[in-house]
Structures are given as structure tokens and as C-alpha cells.
Amino acid sequence: MLKEELNYQRALIAVLGVASLFLVLLGSTNAHASTLGQGVHVHLGAYDPENAPPSKYIKKVTETKTTENLNLRKSASTSSQSLGIMPKGTIVQLTGNKSGTWSQLKWGSKTGWSASQYLSTRAYTKDDSVRYMTRFTSIYATAARSTKIGAVNFHSQVSLLDVSGTSSHIKTGSYHGWVDSKNLTRTRPAKQYRYVQKSGSTYLGIDPKTDTYAGRVHHGEKYEYRRWDGTNRRDEINVNGRWVWTSVTNRDYVAPQYRYAQSNGSVYSAASKTNSKVVGTISKGTKVRWGAWDASNRRDEINLNGKWVWASNTDRKKPADPIPPAIDVKNYDRFTTGLLTLRKNPVSNSTSAGSVKKGWKVTVTHKAEGGWVRISAGSVTGWIKGSGNLRRHGPYSVAVYGTLRTGQSAYNVMSGFQQKNTNQRLSSSSLYQLWNKNWTFLTNGPKTVVAEQFQYSDAKGPAMLKKLDIYEGQLKYQGRPMYTRQNVPLNGDTESWTYKTTSFSEKVVKNSGRYISSGDFLKRS
């Protein structure tokens, strides 16, 4: 910006000659703080805002309003005909004629008289001069716009003084002069922003050769923008309340990037290994915003606790967590609550060891710190988080112990399952056989009964249970079912549905049936 000001100064010195005697070069730009636009300012006296003519868009206005709902009468008398009632607050125009306590006035197209005491007149200044700049714009000495005297920035608020042709006479915080009218608007334009495409420097001035380093902006950061300088290919952006220039920004959004500390280590004040000092430490696994990579020093610029520092122990990948030891547990069974991806180790970033479908019965064999449990299901073995992923009851798991078992006469009924577990044991049960050799009945008892568990998917389970309810529901004695579907415990500490005697039918079975001591339908004799 400073350079730009100097260019304007030179031009004006050449053109104005003696006028240059009045030039006052300020040590810094924008020395005038003003509510008006921040112009690129050179003190020229005649173009100082103080010397601006009054705005034609700031007017003194006299306004008369009704203070009550008020009759407008044909003549100055309460007995005169009413031309209408003017609501309270109606703005009217006084004609200046008076008759005693009555004033003549115009209300729309009507002219009449009203009592003066219900009319209030006030005078105020109406400011219609507020305008905003839609872009960085040069300010000229005249409406012909041939001699530049300065410039005004995008988004600046200015005061419109006059209009001549396509030029507008404006007053900024630093000047009054003429600009192209098309760069003015009544409403403040939306702010514009730029994203840092690559971490880099910012400068106080527009010229990279002579200006002063103003700091560093970082990859992915977003800043308010107001001007692009095509000559030097720099954006003017606002960093922490200060307008600076940089060549590393653009319109395109830049997604922030992050790095992880791969080990505990130090962070440094600079990329250089020989010319930097330790300014802190970073712990393994810490995730930080990334700014830049210095290949020669092999350091990342990172934002640690709000400060940009350099580190040599960061990388894109999250470091592997330490693997907690596996603790053997007494095996127990559970059902999966969803599709589970198993991990080779009890850490979240461990590689996959396979997956297990929802509703499968699995065996838990180990546990590890962090709520991890090691499960096996068929040929798949791996680690999952135990909480929320496993449950005791299989909502669509059915345990069978008689003719529905594998290879038995009614096995075909059990089709469509997603998993089958043979050689299971129903807890606290007994098995009885009635005179019909195909009929075995599960009762409460002191031992266990050999069973198989069939797991059905959510899609097939409800229909399968309904079918089995009907299939198993036909055997009755004294009109009451011999079997009902019940939730029963199994030895692996799970619960499944099975078809079991009721308290009523258990008496019938134990009275009239034969106890199968092996608890195994296949070993009945």
C-alpha cells in the first residue's frame, strides 16, 4: 500500500507542481482513522476530507405528524365537514395558512384544516449519502477522472457528495474526490475471503522487493480479503486485524491437514536444525494441525496448543497404540449385536481379522485392557470392543434337541439359518420321551440336554419363529399345548429360544414319559 501511495504522489507532483508543496507524506498508511473508507492517503490539502463540499444527499427535512387520530375538515371549524380521519402518526404537509388554532394542510390528495394542537412538527437531517465500495477504486481530482489523487478499498464506507455523469464525488476518511459510480452501492457488500494454499509469508507493503515481513500464514487458513494486485500477484488479506499482502492465498477452499506425533519429542522454534531452539514437547499420538513440511530439515510445521512450531516426529498416520496383553478368561458365549469387524490385536487401528455377521453366536476367550474381548466364531478369530457389540440373548436363535437336530427326521424344517452350533447344552434340563418315539420333551431338570443352536438373520428370524410356533404348537393334551417357545439358558451363558414343556405338560411328560438319562436324543434307546 505504501508503494502505491508513493506512485500517486509522484504523479500528482508532476501534474500539480506547486501543489506538491502541500504534500505531506505520512510515515504509515491509513494514518486517518475514520468511519469512512480507508483511502490510500496523501495529504493534498484541497482533497482532504475536511475540504469537501457538503453532500447533496444530506438534507434538512421538516416533517409534521398527527399526534392523535385527527379529522381533516373542510374549513377551520369543528362544525365543518370532515374530509376523513387521519390516523395518529400520519405525515402531512402544512400549507402555511393558519386560522386561529387551526392549520391548513395537505393529506394525500386532500387539502383541509385540522386543529394545530394535534400536529407536531420537527426538523432533522436526512442522510442519504452512505455508500460502500464494491471494489478497490481510484479516486480522481475531477469528474473527468483523469488525475488520480488516491484510492479507496473494497468494502469501505464512503459519503456520496454529488453525482456527475458516470462519476460520483465521494468523501472517504482521507479524501474527497471522484470515482466511477458503478463501484458504489447503497448496501455493504459481503466480505470476501481467501484460503492459504501453502504456508508462506505476509508483508506490510505491496512490493515484494522493498516491503517488510509481517508474519506467516498457514496452510488451510481463511482470511478476509479486499484486494488483488495483479502486478505483484499478491492478495491483501486481514491477519489479526492488520491488512497485509501475500502471494500464498487464493479463492479455493483448502481442507486443513493434520499430523500425529509418532513418538514423544520436542518441538522447535524454526525448521532449521542448527538455528532453532526447543520451545516445548509433544506426546506420542497427539493430533495437530499441519502447516508445512521442510524437506531439507525434515520437519513439519505444526500448531501445538495454538502456536505454530516445528517438529521432526510427526507424520500423517496415527501411530499404532501399544498392544495391551491378552488375559485368558473362562470361555463364554455371546451373540453379536451387529456386523462386527474383528481386529488382529486389541487396538483400534489394528488390521482386520475378518468379520462376523449380526446375530452370530461367538465364544469369548480372552479380554484386554480397554474393553477388548477376543472372540471366535467358526474359523474367524479376533478382537472387538465388548461393550454394545455382544449380548446374552439371541433374538433369533433357536435351540433344538429332538427330531429337528441335524440329520434327524424333521431337520429340513430348520432351513434358512445363517449359523448353526452343534454340541451345545441346555442348562438345568431333562429330556423325556413319550410313547411316541418321535416325541421328546424338554423339562426342567438337574442335568443338561444336548442341543443345537440355529441363528437366523433379522430378515428371516421373525418369520421363522412364527412358523416354528405353529409347527410346534399342534401337540396338545386336554386342549393345552405340550410345548411353548421359551427363552432358556445354555451352558455357555447364552439364552436361546426353544420349545419346552409348560408346568402343566411337564407333569404329563414326567408321569407318562420315559426319562432319557443321557440328555441326548440321539442316544435314546
Binding site: L434, W435, N436, Q474, Q478, S512
Partner: protein, 226 residues
């Protein structure tokens, strides 16, 4: 009935006793019996031709204690009944039957619906027989058994079929196919003391026609032609 191993003999002997006890009531009935002979029947006095038959016939009363009608028995020791006519067991010295069973009708089916699943299934033997059966067991039956519950089985395993009168009876009609048929008004698996029930039961028969036999002990029961 089922075979029993030594380990379970004690409880099992009790469980089958109701059938035995009721069966033995016939043995002490002293009414004359007319036995079917050849194409007809022959009398009990003429004497059966085999020892087994003799043993079985010893359990058969010679006349209906309730009606006095002659009891006709075929060469398979099955008391001959017509559809709708009850077979009875009567305690010696009484006239009122302790147990009655009646086969009212027999329908021959080529297939049935798999209960709950809706699929058509075929018999494992040849035909499904849909029997309309009623049965009644006197309340007094409980007094003659040691168990808490006295009952007479009524499921397919209690039935047999033969291809015709005096022909050998086959059992094992209680196939899974028969069990799996969706039966409207299915008969309870047994009738309990004091109960009178009626319903349908399915048999898986190798014969499309012949005789249905109710013979839970397979020592001689009642037979109905179909």
C-alpha cells in the same frame, strides 16, 4: 408301545400301566366272542390257531358288557368295528366302559400342508389317512393306575393299518410327515381320565384302503374298515 431299558424300567412300567390295566380288564370279561374265520369269522370256542393269538384272544370279551352284543374278533386279534362304532374297555364286573374309542371316518389324502410353513408334503409311506376320532376315558380310570395321571394315547403311534380283514397289521404310521401335517381340529395326543374328546389325527399308511387299527400296546385292539 416303547421298549424300555433296565435303567428306566421302574418309572416306565408305571407309565405304560394305564394301557395295560385297561387292556387287562378285557381279559376278565366273560362274554362269548365270535371270531372271524376265513372270509367270515370264527368263534372263540373253536380255538385260535396260534399260541400268540390265543394269548391275545384271552383278553377279548365274548360280548359287549354294556349292550350284550356279540364281540367279533379277526384273526389278528382285533375286535371288529364299523366306522362310527365304539371300541370299548370294560372293567370286569361292570357294564359301563372305562374307555371308548370311535373312528368315525377315514379320508385318504395324497398330500398335506407342512404346518406353519405352507408347503405341500407327501406321505413317507403311501397315503395320508385323516381319521376323525373320538375317545372317552372314565374318571374312574385314575383309581386303577398308580400314577397321578391316567390317560390313553391317541396319536398316530397308537394306530396301525392292514390291507384288509385278517391281514397283518403294520404300525409305525407316525412318520415325521404325518406329524408335520397341518390338521384342522387336531386330536389331543391322549385322552385323560374324565375327558371325552374328538378330533382329527393323521396316519402315514402304506395302504390306500383296508383297515385302521387302534392298538396302542400292539397286542390286539379294535379295527375299522375304510
Amino acid at each position: 408301545m416303547t421298549k424300555f431299558n433296565a435303567q428306566n424300567e421302574q418309572c416306565n412300567s408305571q407309565k405304560r400301566k394305564i394301557a395295560w390295566v385297561l387292556g387287562s380288564t378285557v381279559a376278565v370279561a366273560t362274554v362269548s366272542v365270535g371270531l372271524i374265520l376265513g372270509n367270515n369269522y370264527y368263534s372263540a370256542q373253536a380255538g385260535p390257531t396260534t399260541q400268540k393269538l390265543q394269548d391275545n384272544l384271552a383278553d377279548v370279551a365274548k360280548s359287549d358288557a354294556q349292550t350284550g352284543e356279540e364281540v367279533k374278533v379277526d384273526t389278528q386279534a382285533q375286535v371288529i368295528k364299523s366306522l362310527g362304532q365304539p371300541g370299548k374297555l370294560t372293567v370286569d364286573g361292570t357294564t359301563k366302559p372305562s374307555f371308548e374309542i370311535t373312528v368315525h371316518s377315514v379320508k385318504v389324502l395324497n398330500s398335506c400342508t407342512l404346518r406353519g410353513f405352507g408347503e405341500k408334503i407327501s406321505p413317507e409311506n403311501k397315503k395320508f389317512l385323516l381319521l376323525d376320532v373320538s375317545a372317552k376315558l372314565a374318571e374312574s380310570a385314575e383309581k386303577v393306575v398308580k400314577e397321578d395321571i391316567a390317560l390313553m394315547p391317541l396319536d398316530a403311534s397308537a394306530f396301525g393299518v392292514s390291507p384288509g380283514r385278517n391281514r397283518g397289521v403294520v404300525y409305525d404310521l407316525n412318520t415325521v410327515a404325518a406329524f408335520s401335517c397341518d390338521v384342522d381340529k387336531a386330536l389331543d395326543i391322549a385322552v385323560g381320565a374324565g375327558d371325552e374328546i374328538r378330533g382329527n389325527v393323521i396316519l402315514d399308511s402304506p395302504y390306500a384302503n383296508g383297515q385302521v387299527v387302534y392298538d396302542p400296546d400292539k397286542t390286539g385292539g379294535w379295527t375299522w374298515s375304510y
